[in-house]
């Protein structure tokens, strides 16, 4: 059961994790403040496996890696957006947070819908409306990187 939490365009890294919490490296602490300036209930309602759906340019703003870390530590399994900011995109994959660019899904999925994502095929299914969407699937090496927990973790594994 993955519930979609939907937001608009240009969700910036200040909203994802406000700068006042950046002194902390603790993932749980970061997760407890994730999205709090745009959605005070986010921490309470985000369940493991849930997804975030957003509009254009998700993750714009600073280059802080804390942003994807906070989202991942909140239990979010995937962010689907119309587009991502470049540094956020790179940081998310490097820390092992799955993100998919799919404008149609980002448009069509409603807040609270039950959604499943097949990372092998890139097919996003909105179980509430019955609609499916096709995102470009991750190539295998990125899938492995995300499964392993990010760039460093997967490299460590490869070196063994």
């Amino acid at each position: 059961m993955s519930t979609a939490h939907k937001y608009g365009d240009h969700v910036d890294t200040d909203v994802i994790i406000p700068a006042r919490y950046l002194a902390s490296q603790d993932e749980k602490e970061l997760a407890s403040h994730c999205m709090e300036d745009i959605d005070a209930n986010f921490h309470a309602k985000a369940k493991p496996g849930d997804i975030i759906v957003a509009g254009l340019n998700f993750g714009c703003g600073s280059s802080r890696e804390h942003a994807p870390v906070a989202i991942k530590a909140s239990g979010i399994s995937c962010v689907i957006a119309k587009s991502f900011a470049r540094i956020f995109y790179r940081n998310a994959i490097n820390i092992g947070l799955a993100i998919l660019e799919c404008p149609e899904a980002a448009e069509g999925i409603n807040d609270g819908d039950n959604v499943s994502v097949n990372f092998d095929t890139g097919i996003i299914t909105d179980n509430t409306t019955g609609k499916t969407y096709q995102a470009e699937p991750f190539p295998e090496f990125i899938r492995h990187m995300i499964e392993d927990g990010g760039l460093m973790a997967s490299l460590k594994k490869a070196k063994k």
């Binding site: 490097n94 660019e101 991750f138 190539p139 090496f141 760039l151 460093m152 490299l155």
Partner: protein, 421 residues
């Protein structure tokens, strides 16, 4: 479908016959770069992951350039960490006080980058080497740490903008005016994510120094890289510097460009980017009312020997206006020496400037020329964000070495031709 120059280089390094915009690929790297600010973070990541080897000790470059000779204890500690790491792993291209230069001026000079190569650097201006027909882009410190060990990294293949250059450069116009004009036209996010690929018969007007300046600032338009095709000017520059084999890549005729921008050099005059964004381009001729306190000539953008010459030609036999400080920073030790040999250092000193050994120094508000509240500086650097060179109420005006020098002489923003009268 055809590929752009960038896409061809990426395909080659990914071992694929074809790639398309948006595709995620894993590509081998020919060079991994870091400086005294970003390398320590990368080293920490590298060590935390328990890595114990470098993929190729000739393909990792560390340049101590931001704060050297060290400005304080913190920067000394960071350099020490890099020095020890480089020693421990036998990194061949480690540059410290005495041999260093500003990274993006130093690497091309030392022949460390060749056409067709793929380079990442934990520094946003790593895009500079596109001038040589290489794919090079800035990444984060984690990427650098991982790549030092792995020798490859992942990329999302960029879409591209083509800039078609025509016409002839006017007197006093240089690469800086070209790129400031382009950024003024397309904006600081005009090339977000994308490659900027240059083409057209006007390219023969752009010297290697011009091209290096243009590619350097591709990031200031949001670009992932900014790349020039290899031609005789490139070959002449590489001659004697790069001894290894290299390959030139040219775009396919049917390569896909999301946008084509026409840039006619005939229309470009000396340009100044006013605070606080590089896109805020104005003609140098219209800057008479802007009184300045300082000029800075140097940085990875404009610290090359051609830049020193452009400044020396203007400053020769002249003196800075009352109350203007002049800071000249040749970008590498070779350029520094060359300035002495060619008499530029004397010209600068006679004009009332100081000449520093290579450092990023004032460019990022580090040291060696920080501005107080209310002060204005004409600088040949690449960013004029709020507080970039000091106090948040100071102002940086980006310009070419010729314009910076001319402005130093009059004390206000000045087109060099105004001195001829």
């Amino acid at each position: 479908m055809g590929m752009t120059m960038t896409q061809k280089i990426l395909a080659k390094h990914a071992g694929l016959s074809e790639v398309h915009a948006g595709q995620l690929i894993q590509a081998k790297l020919d060079l991994v770069l870091g400086n005294d600010i970003t390398s320590p973070v990368a080293i920490n990541e590298f060590e935390a992951a328990g890595f114990d080897s470098i993929f190729d000790t000739s393909k990792v470059v560390m340049v101590m350039d931001h704060f050297v000779p060290n400005k304080d204890i913190k920067s000394a500690t960071q350099c020490k960490q890099c020095r020890m790491f480089a020693k421990r792993f036998g990194i061949e291209h480690y540059y410290d006080v005495g041999t260093m230069g500003i990274e993006h001026a130093l690497l091309p000079e030392q022949g460390l980058v060749a056409p067709g190569e793929a380079v990442i650097g934990a520094d946003s201006h790593t895009c500079t080497y596109g001038a040589l027909g290489a794919f090079s882009t800035g990444v984060g410190s984690t990427d650098m740490g991982a790549a030092m060990s792995a020798g490859y990294t992942w990329f999302k293949v960029p879409a591209a903008i083509r800039v078609n250059v025509t016409g002839k450069k006017r007197q006093y116009v240089s690469g800086k005016d070209v790129i400031l004009t382009l950024i003024g036209r397309i904006g600081v996010d005009g090339a977000l994510y994308k490659s900027i690929e240059f083409s057209g018969e006007g390219l023969k007007e752009l010297t290697m120094a011009d091209r290096l300046t243009v590619s350097n600032m591709a990031i200031e338009a949001g670009g992932k890289n900014g790349i020039f095709p290899v031609d005789d000017i490139t070959r002449e520059f590489l001659d004697g510097r790069v001894k290894r084999e290299w390959t030139a890549y040219y775009p396919d005729d049917d390569a896909e460009y999301e946008q084509v921008v026409e840039l006619n050099l005939d229309d470009i005059d000396c340009t100044v980017a006013y605070p606080h964004l590089p896109e805020n381009a104005h003609p140098a001729r219209e800057g008479k009312d802007i009184k300045i306190d300082q000029i800075v000539i140097g940085s990875c953008t404009n610290g090359k020997i051609d830049d020193m010459k452009a400044a020396a030609d203007i400053l020769k036999g002249r003196h800075l206006a009352d109350g203007v400080r002049g800071i000249v920073i040749p970008a590498t030790m070779n350029i520094y020496r060359e300035c002495m040999k060619l008499g530029y250092t004397d010209i600068f000193l006679d004009a009332g400037c100081i000449v520093s050994t290579p450092t990023c120094g004032p460019c990022l508000g580090g040291y060696m020329g920080i501005l107080a509240a209310g002060e204005k500086c004409v600088s040949t650097t690449n960013r004029n964000f709020v507080g970039r060179m000091g106090h948040i109420d100071s102002e940086v005006y980006l310009a070419s070495p010729a314009v910076a020098a001319a402005s130093g002489i009059t004390g206000h923003i000045t087109h060099p031709s105004e001195l001829d009268i």
